[in-house]
Symmetry: C2
Subunit: 402 residues, 2 copies
């Protein structure tokens, strides 16, 4: 299941980025499961990674290679996460970088590895290494959709976003692809987002823009509260286009980048495992942003709220109970106001006097649901996106060995 | 669904406690839904209540009446939680106490009210008040099973536990009943537990014993991470039997009380909504008990772990990923050891070398699953009990307006 029909956009070229894929039969034959992304020399690259303490071998290697030098290639396999694989996993991730480096004539440390799929199985290294020359041979500036398909696991569709922005009188492009449908409660970024622009952006600025953008996009989505061992988001600025330097340029570029990150993050929720609803949870009037996030995630993770959403049941009592158990100090619940779309659900500690079941049910019948929770304590806000909890979610995760 | 066949025990009399029930048609006719418990004069009574900020009207009133005076009656209705009902809810809870007090010849402040069921609907006061004389007329020292049935909501069976302990050469009895199947992540106690003993226990000691016992029983269970607005646990010591004073007596009484509280808490998990597995999560070698609890609850709340349990899939990668995202500082995951029953799953950051799918699957095939997680950081421990996440859980909560 997935919410709405979303077509993969027509992606323009980003000068300095080429993408290639192969069918390496990593988990099963007959599908794209290996992606290579070539980055032109001189690009800036920033990355964010999972905070799961059990992070996967490729995350360790990618972080080290990113710090060490100037990345020239990303290599991504699906079908196997190379996580929980101990020393063997580390050697496999390093061997993948070494072989790609040898084939392409760059040092192993210029290759960042990424993996997604089943946890705890060793990588099928023979098949993976055999796929590398095939992926290299198919490198193309037009390879964005193929790359989006090549990183899918339980995703039902590839996820891409593109935009342009004027910088110094020139048009720069920002393209991105992402994947993910389950084990989605990113903490730094979600497995996997790859975003590239032809703009020229200073390395330190690029890292700041990615960190701040991810905090309001990938780190604000949740399907099932489970943080993956393999989350990563990479942002590439090839520098072939306009230079982002003035405060005005930075503001415009940031706005465009944030739009792409949010679009990619939302695409993951729309394709969340078993999702039948796309839910926007806005919390405002909080004392701190953390408090707003805590309330939003407590509601977003509540199985009772999620099953009520699945049933299209305007069960405001469950929302209220979830808000009430959020970790908020000295919480005066009589000040809480909850709106479902344009319909007031809760005020003064109970059901709003104007509320009718008919009005609530009309909103809940939609596929896209907005819930706005005002805490009446301050001025901070947070927005979190989530999906519902359906029979299909249980079926997918009771059947799929991930 | 429910795990295992558990019969309601034969409950002996607790001198000084009588229980009566009525069919008041609060949500629907033809079932016991109103319970009155009479407590003899001179008893000590301790209570713990939900920490949900949106706590229900009867919780407010019960806490106030408990502080004010010597409780003589508990009145419990199922089918309606009287939560999220604002001022009307407070007046209804107080009117219930006043009417029962009038009928029984005690002050309203000697009555503690409790409610469970749908959130946000006004109590049907006419039918509830009409039921009070019927419940009073049926008061009996043998009413424990009827009372256990009278507090059920989505429970599939009544839950009771009984034990005896020798105090000062005399046998004292401890009886208890509980209810609950969903919205179960108690924070103080779960809605609802009522425990009574004929022992004589000083009020301050009774409160301490209940608080400490609840911390290791009701506060260590979770079905779905949702804390109810109506949780409450009440402990009555009628004082008709032996006096608990010496350190030896206290230790013996505490051991017996803790056994009853744990048995009642576990009964809730065995009857958890949609439960097909009863899962014991033991975390040891933690630096602090809170750290052990944090890891245990992170695993217990993971939808991916819960669906794997439902599928009888020894998916150790999901357990490992959940442990890895628990809020633990400076976590060295290479020291973590995870056992599934007698089978070693994880050591040195990955799958144990001795592990086989066959051995793991054999353990997972059972209805009762033990998972032991050693953190290798200290000496503190915690044990948490939980159930799996099944299609039936989704069906129950997508259909039931609670």
């Amino acid at each position: 299941m997935a919410v709405g029909k979303v077509l993969f956009p027509v992606m323009p070229v980003v000068e300095g980025v080429s993408l290639g894929t192969a069918e390496a039969a990593i988990k099963k034959p007959g599908r794209r499961d290996l992606v290579v992304i070539e980055i032109a020399e001189g690009a800036s690259v920033a990355g964010t990674f999972t905070r799961n303490a059990f992070c996967a071998a490729p995350v360790h290697v990618a972080k080290r290679h990113l710090v060490n030098g100037a990345p020239r290639f990303l290599v991504i396999n699906t079908g196997n996460a190379n996580a929980g694989t101990g020393d063997v996993g580390m050697r496999d991730a390093e061997a993948t970088c070494a072989e790609l480096g040898r084939l392409a004539g760059v040092p192993a440390s210029a290759v960042l590895p990424f993996s997604t799929g089943v946890i705890g199985e060793p990588l099928p290294m023979d098949r993976l290494l055999d796929g590398l020359p095939v992926a290299l041979a198919s490198l193309s500036a037009d390879g964005w959709q193929a790359a989006g398909e090549g990183i899918m696991t339980t995703d039902t569709r590839p996820k891409g976003a593109t935009t342009t922005v004027e910088i110094g009188g020139r048009t720069v492009t920002i393209n991105g692809v992402s994947k993910g449908a389950g084990m989605i409660k990113p903490n730094m970024a979600t497995m996997l987002g790859f975003v590239a622009t032809d703009a020229s952006v200073d390395q330190v600025l690029l890292e700041t823009l990615l960190r701040e953008g991810v905090a309001r996009s990938f780190n604000c989505i949740t399907v099932d509260s489970d943080t993956s061992t393999n989350d990563a988001c990479i942002l590439i600025a090839t520098g072939r286009g306009a230079k982002v330097t003035s405060d005005d340029d930075i503001a415009r570029f940031r706005e465009a980048l944030d739009r792409i990150l949010i679009e990619l993050a939302q695409a993951i929720i729309r394709d969340g495992e078993g999702a039948t609803k796309f839910v926007t949870l806005e919390v405002s009037e909080a004392r701190t942003r953390q408090e707003a996030l805590d309330v939003a995630f407590t509601v977003a993770h509540s199985p009772l709220v999620k099953t009520a959403l699945y049933a299209s049941d305007a069960n405001w009592g469950r929302i209220l109970a979830a808000v009430g158990r959020a970790p908020v100090d000295a919480f005066d619940v009589s000040r809480v106001v909850i709106d479902l779309g344009e319909v007031r659900l809760v005020e003064e500690g109970g059901r709003a006097s104007s509320y009718t079941e008919e009005a609530g049910s009309a909103v809940m019948a939609g596929e896209e649901i907005n819930i706005h929770i005002r805490l009446g304590r301050g001025e901070e806000t947070a927005t979190v996106w989530t999906s519902d909890l359906s029979h299909e979610y249980v079926s997918i995760n009771a059947d799929y060995r991930s």
